[in-house]
Subunit: 409 residues, 2 copies
Amino acid sequence: MPAKGVLVAVTADVVIAGGGVIGTAIAWRAAAAGLDVVLADPAEGDAASLVAAGMLAPVSEALFGEGALLRVNLLALARFPSFAAELEQVTGHRVGLRREGTLAVAYDAGDYAALMRLTAFRRSAGLEAEELDSRACRKLESFLTPDVHGGVLFPGDWSVDNRRYAAALREAAAAAGVRVVRDRVTAVLTADGADGAASADGADGQAHGRARGVALADGGEIGAGQVVVAAGSWSGAVHGLPAALQAAVRPVKGQLLRLRHPDGMPPVLTHTIRATVRGADVYLVPRADGEVIVGATQEERGPDLTVTAGAVHDLLHDAMSVLPVTSELVLAETCAGLRPGTPDNGPIVGGAGSAIPGGVLLATGHYRNGILMSAATADAIVACLTGQPPATEWEPFGPGRFLAGEEER
Amino acid sequence: MPAKGVLVAVTADVVIAGGGVIGTAIAWRAAAAGLDVVLADPAEGDAASLVAAGMLAPVSEALFGEGALLRVNLLALARFPSFAAELEQVTGHRVGLRREGTLAVAYDAGDYAALMRLTAFRRSAGLEAEELDSRACRKLESFLTPDVHGGVLFPGDWSVDNRRYAAALREAAAAAGVRVVRDRVTAVLTADGADGAASADGADGQAHGRARGVALADGGEIGAGQVVVAAGSWSGAVHGLPAALQAAVRPVKGQLLRLRHPDGMPPVLTHTIRATVRGADVYLVPRADGEVIVGATQEERGPDLTVTAGAVHDLLHDAMSVLPVTSELVLAETCAGLRPGTPDNGPIVGGAGSAIPGGVLLATGHYRNGILMSAATADAIVACLTGQPPATEWEPFGPGRFLAGEEER
């Protein structure tokens, strides 16, 4: 690694800040589209992508008032299988896509009433949902507690093995010629000579010029006419973006558990289970290799990655409440990750008007849906990079929505 | 490492099979007594010694009908402080001996009644115990739940940091000249030329001759006129001992948790807490460095070292029931160890008559009290090795008690 202050003589068409599934998916597709791509990330395996459960769940995640988000999630789900198939073909590795569907179960009558209200809303949006009584739930998943009040099967909500998926993306990107720089991007640099931070935070509140690359933590630079900020919950720490945009992304801590079947135990689960246990949400996601993911907390604690006794207890308690056999599984791993949250729970994908430097694109703020949205986000960003319009579903999710005040000035 | 079948040219006065706290304490003291000692163990850190909580608790562990065990535990506790002080002096490292005492608390009225019966028994044996109501318990430990029914303070039950203690023992042994062979002892060898297994399992059921050393898993041997089997729950796998003695030691699985205070949180605990929560026992042992050990399960599952979801849940649940603030601690580690259990819960320390080869001593079967008994066990075994009588408290705990039938023949 070069000493501080020494510029790295790396240039490319596009530099991508962030090597999670979003950044890596973009890198792969951009390189496949003929662009010369460099991806910068300080670590492999430090990302929220690796802590995720890998649910592809636009339907069971859809909430009241989030219609635009539902539409972009459905676009993302529709794109996922062909994207994953190409990835498997290119790399020769399976990514563990499971299409058995998601079974939402309610533990008590109150949980069931809440699930029915959500289900009515989801149906009104045209989503497929099949109501099941307790017995029908247990017919699908025989280890469910008989105490389950009832449930709803969402056949369109799938899952993928996020770690296999992330590893395959890295391999595909490398095979497509993407170069990786193991360092953290600290700022977007603009062509007027000053780094973007100075422009964006300057007296007139305006950012001007065009991107000319990025600055790295070790003092080096990467030169590129187009910059994609895909740094997840750390995106707000990249200088050269307007302060309002930096502030729009915050880390939302999630703790989850990786359980494993002991040797010789047959699988305890086929569908993803999303359970509400006396108002608390827990999910269990089975993997083909015998893993069961249990998640997840949602905590506003800043960039804290500690695993706490209380969270592990609560996750195990809720999981065992709906699937008592969970107690016999091996606790293989406890982990915490930081989702990139935004004020409206929507992602930030695309460029903006005059308030951010030309040539700068954002692909962050994917919150709980980064794995799901990765393929469609790659499509949208590669469209921007190659001068095409992204799908119209992305229109509500540009960075401009957080910059209205600055653009009016 | 030499190839299989090649003899290692190692000889010593004494060879010790097993490098947990028992074997290492013996090795240190035997070397300090002027003996040439080799210790054989396949791993450093694979032992029950490292999973333990380090409670030095003869009083709060004493059960009805175990008077002889209580006496040897009290001998062990009386010996521990001077032993630990010498260890600290020799190595320059603190071993984390804490003398604040143990607070036994009962969660509900049934738990309290059981605690009172035990306390009456312990007092009848002359042990110090101070009954406390709920308020007095919370005066000693302010984070206890107000739901605690009451408790008893056992000022004579202490704790030690088992990992620091084990590390200091290894350092002291090395400084005293003990040589370590990183291999597993498979058999005691006897002077008649056959390995002891053949003698002990032979047609006449008699073991004869004298120890001449041990065989190792890689095919080598260590020559020594005295052999100490201190292999914990694996002692039964050492050939050359009578089958009845091999069968007397079994692994009793224990799972425990290591919690840690987050940065900046003041200590939540001063005393060791032993709680009974609706019939289930849990303990919390604070360390000077901010760790809190929560344990432990007792499971008859053979040599299984998996950490299970159910055990972690139950330990956290019971700990949080008595000390709710536990939920805010970091779950730093989950682990499982194998205690060497025996049919009468007592250790096996010393030699025997004609049924086992001369020069062979056992120091195993310490079950839940290996750390506590390590110093006194070292004294007893070094006495045997140097032709002195061990303390009379050890008389009920010789290997002969499991060999009555074989000795009569």
